[in-house]
């Protein structure tokens, strides 16, 4: 007896109790549909978050002084050799894959205009910073380009700082004081929110050299790099490390990429997706129990049929297979229907929220279908074994 004939035989048996079969198919379909939908949502969330991060500049490389592994305190004070403006210049000019680089000096000072003052972080950097961090301006311009050693008295204000100091007045061209130093406002940033630990709406940018003098620093807080292509990140990282190790005669800097953060986020969200899939799979197990119930009822209803099949020469193996194929047909059908429903649900969701990139991942669809078939067979084994273990004699004597 070929498998095809067995499937035809089992399918005919299922047609004998359509309603019961349809209900257990529905059970499996709901399980599979929820697995497909939830993994699609999870994967959608993952690619949404990763996409947002990438938009912030996924080609960003950050150089910080000191060799840090996992502790957070090393960059401050503990470094044997600190980063200097010369290091910055070397990295910017001698690593060819680097598109732009910007130094970063950080201090805190009160910015005053007339009677009003506000204590904010003051960041010293160069013109390149605006491009490396993709900053946009609401008014005016960013720091002017030129030799980082030049310094100067230009200042760019965050949008909140500008509003607090100037209200509705136009800050461009006005003179402000930062501590004892006088600056001229050349630009106001567009709203940006928090990034890399700073509230970009509530701070001020001044030239790097000026900041170093103002805060009496000889060293840089960070060097930020932007490379041409995402694929170059690892090479840039290596080359920068080598160059600075060479200059410092020791490996005294740490180079991190935003890529690492994206990878971390991505794997967290993937884990979340798997957890969702796991929860949804529970409903599949419930569906499996439903199949088992249907098959048990079917087996006890068809005692006489089992007896007859044995009487006409069906082996125990053939009887077992016939019932297993029935269970597998139920779950496979349920799996296919569930896939259809799940995909349709996700499509509908994307229609309503087009910006959310929810797509059922192929691996999840394949896994769900395989799971459905396995559930059907696993939960069909026990009823099928009962069918073969039944005493045909008793069954045949009755109507």
């Amino acid at each position: 007896m070929s498998l095809l004939e067995m499937v035809a035989f089992a399918a005919a048996a299922l047609r004998g109790h359509r309603l019961r079969a349809a209900l257990s198919v529905a059970g499996v379909a709901i399980g599979i549909a929820s697995v497909v939908t939830l993994t699609a949502l999870g994967e959608g969330a993952r690619s949404y978050v990763v996409g947002e991060f990438a938009a912030l500049g996924s080609n960003l490389v950050i150089v910080l002084p000191g060799k840090v592994e996992t502790s957070g305190h090393a960059p401050f004070g503990g470094a044997e050799r600190e980063l200097t403006l010369d290091d910055y210049r070397a990295v910017a000019q001698r690593v060819p894959l680097v598109r732009r680089a910007a130094p970063l000096v950080v201090g805190s000072e009160t910015v005053r205009w007339g009677e009003r003052g506000r204590a904010v972080p003051v960041l010293g950097t160069t013109a390149e910073f605006a491009e490396v961090r993709r900053l946009r301006l609401a008014a005016g311009r960013f720091l002017s380009p030129g030799d980082p050693d030049q310094g100067g008295n230009e200042i760019v204000l965050g949008v909140k700082l500008a509003r607090e100091l100037f209200g509705h007045a136009n800050p461009l061209g006005e003179a402000v004081r930062v501590g004892a130093w006088r600056f001229r406002v050349v630009g106001v940033l567009a709203p940006r929110g928090r990034s890399l630990g700073f509230d970009f709406d509530d701070l001020a940018f001044v030239p790097a050299r000026t900041a170093m003098r103002m805060f009496n620093r000889a060293s840089l807080f960070r060097i930020l790099l932007d490379c041409h292509r995402h694929e170059d990140l690892e090479r840039v990282k290596r080359e920068v490390t080598t160059l600075l190790a060479d200059r410092h005669r020791a490996e005294a800097v740490t180079v991190i990429t935003q890529d690492a953060m994206i990878t971390a986020f991505s794997s967290i969200l993937r884990a979340l997706t798997l957890a969702l899939a796991g929860i949804a799979s529970v409903s599949l197990v419930v569906a499996g129990v439903g199949i088992m119930n249907v098959m048990l009822v079917s087996v006890s209803e068809r005692r006489a049929e089992v007896g007859l099949l044995k009487a006409v020469g069906a082996s125990n193996g053939q009887v077992l297979t016939a019932f297993l194929v029935e269970a597998a047909l139920l779950s496979t059908l349920g799996g296919l229907v569930g896939l259809g429903i799940g995909v349709a649900l996700v499509r509908g969701l994307v229609e309503v929220f087009p910006e959310f990139p929810a797509v059922p991942p192929p691996w999840a669809m394949a896994a769900a279908l395989v799971l459905a078939v396995v559930v059907g067979i696993a939960f069909g084994v026990w009823p099928a074994r009962r069918a073969t273990a039944m005493d045909p004699v008793a069954a045949l004597a009755r109507r």
Binding site: G307, K310, A397
Partner: protein, 240 residues
């Protein structure tokens, strides 16, 4: 064909053992027509199922064509049921979802006979029982007598040497019962060994031998004034 030698069949019921078949010895030769009679619960069906290799004796020997069935593996007994033994039941046991033709094809399906050959042999078997025009009807569209004839076609489609009929007319009116018996007897005349379990003295009277069961024991009834000893009968193979 059939040799029973001190065959017992015992079921445990709670703490007690029930002897459905006690110390039965009998021989049935190939081509015979025998009737098995007795009140309900006398063990007729149990003995029939032992003869049909659906059940095994608890004790004693059952030789079918010289092979001891109790010693055979399950797969071998399946082969015997498939190729050598046909069953006809009181309640027909046709699968309601299959047509008459499909029901007759069933034994060949499990025996692995190809589709074309199956169709042809099933159609031929239906012709043999006079139901070729009913081939595509389902059981619920057939009369009782027609259903039993489909069941007979199914029982003989594998050309068995032994046909076991458990109350084949028990659920039929007199005229279709008569037709069914005529059909079975015709097949018997063509060489098929026939054993009919029945309550009906008229049916039993048509058999050449009558075996009576009472409380698990088997007694051969004298027939037509010529008494024969219990468990007598011609047998091809002697006791080994």
């Amino acid at each position: 064909m059939i040799e029973l030698d001190d065959v017992w069949r015992t079921y445990p019921v709670g703490e007690v053992e029930v002897h459905a078949v006690r110390a039965v010895s009998a021989r049935i030769a190939g081509g015979e027509h025998a009737a098995l009679v007795g009140p309900s619960g006398s063990g007729k069906s149990t003995l029939l199922h032992i003869l049909g290799c659906l059940d095994r004796p608890t004790r004693g020997r059952y030789l079918f064509k010289g092979r001891e069935v109790g010693q055979l593996a399950e797969a071998e007994r399946t082969r015997l049921r498939r190729h050598d033994i046909g069953f006809v039941f009181q309640f027909f046991h046709l699968l309601p979802r299959l047509t008459a033709l499909g029901n007759v094809e069933l034994p060949m399906l499990f025996a692995g006979v190809g589709r074309e050959e199956r169709r042809e042999r099933a159609a031929q078997a239906l012709r043999r029982v006079g139901l070729e025009r009913r081939a595509h009807h389902r059981p619920d569209q057939l009369s009782g007598g027609e259903r039993q004839r489909v069941a007979i076609a199914r029982a003989v489609v594998m050309s068995p040497s032994l046909l076991l009929a458990d109350e084949p007319t028990g659920n039929l009116d007199r005229s279709s019962g008569g037709e069914v018996m005529a059909l079975l007897e015709e097949m018997n005349r063509e060489g098929l060994t026939l054993l009919v379990v029945t309550h009906d003295p008229a049916i039993a009277a048509r058999a050449r031998r009558v075996l009576r069961m009472d409380d698990g024991r088997l007694v051969e009834e004298a027939k037509g004034g010529s008494p024969s000893p219990p468990a007598a009968g011609v047998t091809g193979a002697g006791d080994p």
